[in-house]
């Protein structure tokens, strides 16, 4: 059995701040907010009237043959754009020997949105005496609902579109572990390459829940910020005044491959994935384990996988959603893993600017980790001015900070107690000196 090194050779993203990697990075370093009043539907009477939306995006600007994807859902269109960017950066079109059966895909994509008007309308119009009249509902549904609008909701359809666009014939997976999905996808894609089940993998995630049912679901869980009067600064991870996360949308895709494969074809290496950890809280579906044991286990698992000690980590890209509970538990978990060193490891949450991209969050954040190493600068946690005694780490508040960054950890935690962690280093592959692996 082989155990191969896995490098990143392409990255792409479509998100509320920009429709490309460099634009996103500049906006993050400048501390810009992607949060605005919700325009995708009339949310004016909702308890939370804002979100972080992708705007002005046209698939035809990104993909040569957009018509082929005419049935694709919103998040799938984001994924295709991000995928093309990553594919181009990796210069895979120039790679004539690319064996398509060894090109795989592992995404953490969300479900497509319900066909809101028709779905809601059929229920209301078929309502009879406290329940849906199923016969009437069926009649209306067959009149109003469309094959593609329904089928594209299945979360494997993003994989299907990406496979068609890039002629993928190797292993194909979609994982949907809520807010941790795309971090998990990248970790699992890394394992596919390590075990030599594929040479190249497209990986990342896509999601859009900015629709009435998505927003309703999170509001009923009291997870969203309701700071309707201070929309641009509503996402406040680790700040005392935080009151929930801001729902975002988007997609990020990475091309990862075995280092040997990348070197052989002369690809430019952007970074290397050296550690992956996964765990379950096994606590409650509604809450995180207050001690953060599951989150800590995931971080320890990734450190062990990389053969590193906590002191080797120079920066942590936090899950940092801006909910009361997450940020407190996450801080506790980092203290548990890093001990006294926790005070010396800067931590930041780009969700303060991007909002929470749900299944797509982790992949987007991993891209920022690669860029932090490239440019030796840490993106800030914006709107972080009021210190919370339960959140007492260095969160790189309000201003990007130059720093010596070699090894970065990225965390994602999902509803139901899903925890996933990745560790990346730069393209030179200079692992911390005491690495044992």
């Amino acid at each position: 059995m082989t155990d191969r090194r896995v490098v990143i050779t392409g990255m792409g993203t479509v998100n509320p701040l920009a429709h490309d990697v460099e634009g996103t990075w500049q906006a993050l370093l400048a501390g810009r907010s992607g949060v605005r009043a919700t325009e995708l539907f009339d949310a004016s009477t909702f308890p939370s009237t804002f979100s972080a939306q992708v705007s002005g995006y046209d698939l035809a600007d990104q993909v040569p043959d957009a018509e082929r994807h005419c049935h694709a859902g919103r998040h799938c269109r984001f994924a295709l754009g991000a995928g093309v960017q990553a594919w181009r950066q990796a210069e895979l079109d120039a790679c004539e020997q690319l064996d398509r059966s060894r090109l795989g895909i592992y995404l953490g994509s969300g479900e497509g949105s319900l066909d809101f008007d028709n779905f809601t309308g059929t229920i209301v119009d078929a309502w009879a005496g406290g329940a849906v009249d199923a016969v009437k509902w069926a009649e209306l549904a067959f009149e109003r609902m469309h094959l593609y609008r329904e089928v594209e909701q299945e979360s494997n359809m993003v994989v299907a579109h990406m496979a068609a666009e890039f002629d993928v014939r190797g292993p194909a997976f979609n994982v949907l572990t809520a807010c941790a999905a795309s971090t998990q996808a990248i970790g699992e894609a890394t394992l596919q390459i390590r075990r030599s089940d594929a040479d190249v993998m497209l990986t990342g995630g896509a999601h859009s829940m900015i629709h009435p049912y998505g927003v309703t679901g999170f509001i009923r869980l009291t997870a969203l910020s309701t700071r309707n009067d201070e929309i641009p600064t509503s996402s406040r991870p680790f700040d005392l005044t935080r009151d929930g996360f801001v729902l975002g949308e988007g997609a990020s895709v990475l091309v990862i491959e075995s280092r040997d494969h990348a070197l052989a074809r002369g690809a430019k290496i952007l970074g290397e994935i050296i550690g992956y950890g996964s765990s379950a809280d096994a606590f409650r579906i509604t809450d995180q384990d207050p001690e953060g044991e599951g989150a800590a286990a995931s971080m320890r698992c990734a450190l062990a996988d990389a053969g590193l000690a906590p002191g080797d980590i120079d920066y942590i890209s936090a899950h940092g959603t801006g909910t009361k509970q997450n940020d407190q538990v996450e801080t506790r978990a980092m203290r548990s893993v890093f001990g006294e060193q926790a005070d010396h490891v800067p931590v930041s949450s780009v969700k303060s600017m991007l909002g929470h991209l749900i299944a797509a969050a982790g992949a987007t954040e991993l891209i920022t980790c690669v860029l932090a190493i490239r440019d030796q600068i840490l993106p800030p946690t914006m709107n972080c001015s009021h210190s919370d005694p339960d959140c007492d780490l260095d969160y790189v508040p309000n201003k990007a900070r130059p720093a010596a960054v070699r090894t970065v950890m990225s965390n994602s935690f999902g509803f139901g107690g899903q925890n996933n962690t990745l560790i990346v280093i730069g393209p030179e592959g200079d692992r911390p000196a005491d690495a044992t692996r």
Binding site: D42, T45, E111, A138, N156, A178
Partner: protein, 438 residues
Amino acid sequence: MTERRVAITGLGVVSPAGIGVEALWEGLLAGKGFIRPIELFDASGFPCGFGGQVGEFSARRFVPKTYRKAVKVMARDIEIAVGAADLAFRDSGIVTKGIDADGPTIESGRLGCNIGAGLICTDLDELGVALTTAVDEEGSFSLKAWGESGMNNLTPLWLLKYLPNMLSCHVTIIHAAMGASNTITCGDASAHLAVGEATRLVARGGADAAVAGGAESKLNPMGLMRQTLLKRAATGWDGEPDRACRPFDEGHCGTAVGEGGGLLILEDLDRAVARGARIYAEVAGFGAACDPAGIDVERANAGSLDLAVRRAMDDAGIAPDQVGLIVAHGTGVPAEDLCEAEAWQAAMGQRVRSIPATAVTGAIGSLFAGAGGVELAVAAKALAEQTVPPTANHAAPARDCDLGFLCEPRQARLEYVVSAAFSVGGQSGACVLRRHEP
């Protein structure tokens, strides 16, 4: 670095044939059909009014007393997974915290989970109760009224009932499985992919045991409507629903939409042997593949199932002539059966007709993300019993669909069994199971 061998030590099945793997196995051997008119809702408005129902079933029976309240926030897919997990753990003899809080025999952090899931359909009545509080004078739904107050009539945990990872989450909570946890959502291929991934987790030493497979129910108005729009639901055999789902048969006319799931306990072989566990089989190989043509959901394809099968056989280090049984997916949708038969032939060569084959769909219908879990449970059972089960409703093969299906059960010397499935969308997964030599 060497990989550990992985044993299957527990099987948990909830299917239209009943609760438990024995109910299914006996039903299959008897050649019974379990497809019947839908009772879960009034399906008379649908062209296809029958399906594979589990029947009376609640997860309440399968959770610790302290967890019974949580059953209220479980969609049917989740209830099925929770039931199957309990059955699988008990069958394996591994005592989890959910089975005995005081005497678990496995360390929580060394127990992983990977359960395939589908797009969970919202309960229309539950949502309707809230939606109908937000209508204008004409009786039309008003988004403004919904935002103001209507949504407050929706149960606060509504969203958590429908997240696909909640199958795994409830199972990990009940059984205190704190190891790596994953949820694969690739349609009918989900469970094979989940079992393959979980096998590798145990093989590389990331966990000592894992619960893996899949569960789903599309037996609700939205699920049945979507399958009807896809033209996948069976269209013939009125009045004889138990004969309607006919995998690879000349009378095949679509599938029977069903519900159910299968979960396997995968365990480090050395650990299983050391504790004297009953070992159904070993997972000897896994393969996955993808057909880019899957984007066109109106045109059948088998998700490059042939490549997945070849990879699984390579992984197991075996050739087609060592395969004693093919567990086919066999949806009964004519174009899909044809693609699948071609794929098996491509993977196995001309010899394919002489390899005994079976498909469970004739008896229980399509279980979607749950299908693979049940198919792999049947594959494991076949190895343990050294028996090939017959295929219900396969009387005469459709043109170019001639695999080795049997009308009666047959004792056979089975060393390796291959099982594979493909999704609408073009993903496929395959597993090779090996007889365990005690």
